[in-house]
Symmetry: C2
């Protein structure tokens, strides 16, 4: 499916206020934006077959560099024909840099100018992840959309700490770009995104975005958000950051979020998202629907013959009673996670499709208002 | 899909030696025999969507009365429209009596002439399972093929113990039959099977089968085997039991078994099987293939680009590399169990289809020999 004549490009199809409808082309296909990218941490979107993920409308999935570099290793994936072949996903793949999970999962981390040394959480083996090594790993995986290594700090943090991490990330951005070009990434049609940092400090967000905009990245990510701050802080950071970013490049808000986060961020001009929420929640008995969240663990579902959403085209949403889903969750059956993950990824993709259609038809504000009303009305309305 | 005009019946289509090709008709469809029935313990065949189970060629699945009576309870399943509706399986369902799992899972069991008292392994709640209550529960579930309550003992056991349990099971058979008729089971087109006991004692097996044959059961099960005895003992018991059973009724060997057990037992005239082996093994990294078992945990698969069986029409068998399956198993990913269970159930159904075709075409001996050769040749031949 890979077409090396197909280079990374971004086309803006329509705008409606700050919301944008676009298309990213990569060697493995076209990504309709705004896009939600299901997370396939260990080369699998948990509890779903890849064909199912595709059928929900996903054009791209995310792979986690940290997990894949430890197991099965980037070199092995490369020998086996690359990540697309390995995980049976012939469409676009985006990878992160590994940095975020080094900071959250690895042991004995030591970060300096060169990069970050750490020990694997699996077997204690030692690694040294540098901006160059991260790009090298993502190249071995064959990722279509790659991320620079950055330092993502927790919020709140002191201003000096935010500045230090933001400036380090900018220097790492330059090194990442150089390595990406040395490895022939642009020639292979791949893209590398720079990552805006700056915590909850508007001036530093602007400084970071301006600095990155001078480098010829194929896209720009907004990192370091959804790390514990309230939603209004995240949205304020988008309000100051997005206007500084080039309009002709895609904008990716990393690790976000709830359906409401997606709606608010698209309204502010974000084009791409990833989040473990729909998959993780699905494995914990929580369903996302047009009418809000449904906690299937709750005893009130135990004799409810209604499906999650009888109007949905997704079998997981319309083909099983809440009573049955409740039973599966209570009994700890794997089918619960399979069905709820499927329902959730499908709902997220439906929400994105709704937003894409609305932007194209210049009715995003109406879609935004109606969607919020439906959520507020609650799931009883699904009758 | 239920058709109350369709009553339980059994038709013998062909025989080849002692092997039989037949069809069981129930209110929910036709079961082609010899049949392997995937186990859906808690109203789900673990890690598979019901549509997938059907697509592998399964005409019938098994539900476990013990599990279902505890959670969600037979009464709740009944209020929700019966087990077929509840678990989205509109085809034939067979249920066991609950007795086997009471003896293996429940706490503080006390068995006497009336039945068995026990406490739930989930919450300690007290239950009294009698032959009558078991039939009542299976009726509430809406099971097409029901089993009498019996006492299944471990092997080896002393002769007196084998006799006591066998005679008790015979008395329970009569009580079960009476209750089944009182509940109108035959009028609903359902079937109730008697269960042959007698441990590893040929004379008692014959006595049990003769006793049961006097009762108008719709089919006959062979129970109390595959409980720790060597395969040759199990096959010897079939050799003495099967000739005593009516030829115009289906014969079901309970809880069996490996692919080789199925082949050997069909050769001896068995028509139905159930076993957790293909599903449980799949969740533990073990694949069954035409060329024998493949343990995907083994490091020798880590860079093997071959699928489990490239000639298979099943996506799980032909669409994923062994290297990827190995990775999923090592990483503890749910997709490993999903793919290997699917592969295994598909292989079991393919094996049954192969046997059915061979019997119809009077070439069972040839099929038997070739299948054993393929297993012996080993999985390397799958190249």
């Amino acid at each position: 499916m890979s077409d090396t004549n197909r280079k990374f490009s971004f086309k803006l199809i329509a705008t409606d206020g700050n919301a944008r409808r676009g298309e990213i082309t990569t060697p493995h296909g076209v990504v309709r934006t705004p896009a939600f990218m299901p997370v396939g941490t260990q080369a699998t979107v948990k509890a779903m077959y890849p064909e199912q993920v595709r059928q929900t409308g996903a054009d791209v999935v995310l792979g986690n560099t940290y997990h894949l570099m430890l197991r099965p290793t980037a070199e092995r994936v490369d020998r086996l024909g690359g990540l697309h072949t390995f995980m049976n996903w012939p469409h676009t793949i985006l990878t992160d840099s590994g940095g975020f999970q080094v900071m959250s999962l690895a042991q004995l981390r030591k970060l300096d100018e060169a990069g970050v040394r750490f020990q694997s959480h699996i077997d204690g083996q030692k690694y040294h992840l540098t901006p160059e090594r991260s790009v090298e790993i993502q190249g071995l995986l064959g990722s279509d959309i790659q991320m620079q290594l950055d330092e993502c700090i927790r919020l709140p943090s002191a201003r000096e700490e935010v500045r230090r991490a933001m400036e380090l990330s900018l220097r790492w951005a330059e090194r990442s770009r150089r390595k990406f070009e040395d490895m022939g990434g642009p020639g292979k049609g791949q893209g590398l995104y720079g990552i805006v940092q700056g915590g909850d400090q508007p001036d530093m967000r602007v400084e970071s975005a301006e600095g990155l905009s001078k480098l010829p990245f194929e896209g720009y990510s907004v990192g370091g958000l959804a790390v514990g701050e309230p939603q209004h802080v995240m949205l304020e950071m988008l309000d100051v950051t997005v206007p500084v970013l080039p309009t002709d490049k895609p904008r990716y808000l990393m690790g976000v979020g709830t359906p409401d986060d997606l709606l608010e961020s698209v309204k502010r001009g974000i084009d791409q998202f990833d989040c473990v929420m729909p998959t993780r929640a699905g494995r914990h008995g929580l369903a996302y629907t047009r009418f809000g969240k449904v906690n299937l663990k709750n005893a009130r579902h135990q004799e409810d013959p209604r499906p999650l959403d009888e109007e949905s085209a997704c079998q997981a949403s319309s083909g099983y009673s809440r009573a049955y889903l409740h039973h599966l969750v209570r009994a700890g059956e794997g089918l619960a996670g399979m069905l709820l993950t499927w329902n959730n990824i499908n709902y997220y993709q439906q929400l994105m499709q709704g937003m894409r259609d609305a932007i194209e038809e210049s009715r995003f504000e109406e879609f935004y208002a109606r969607t919020k009303e439906d959520w507020a009305r609650g799931d009883i309305a699904a009758l």
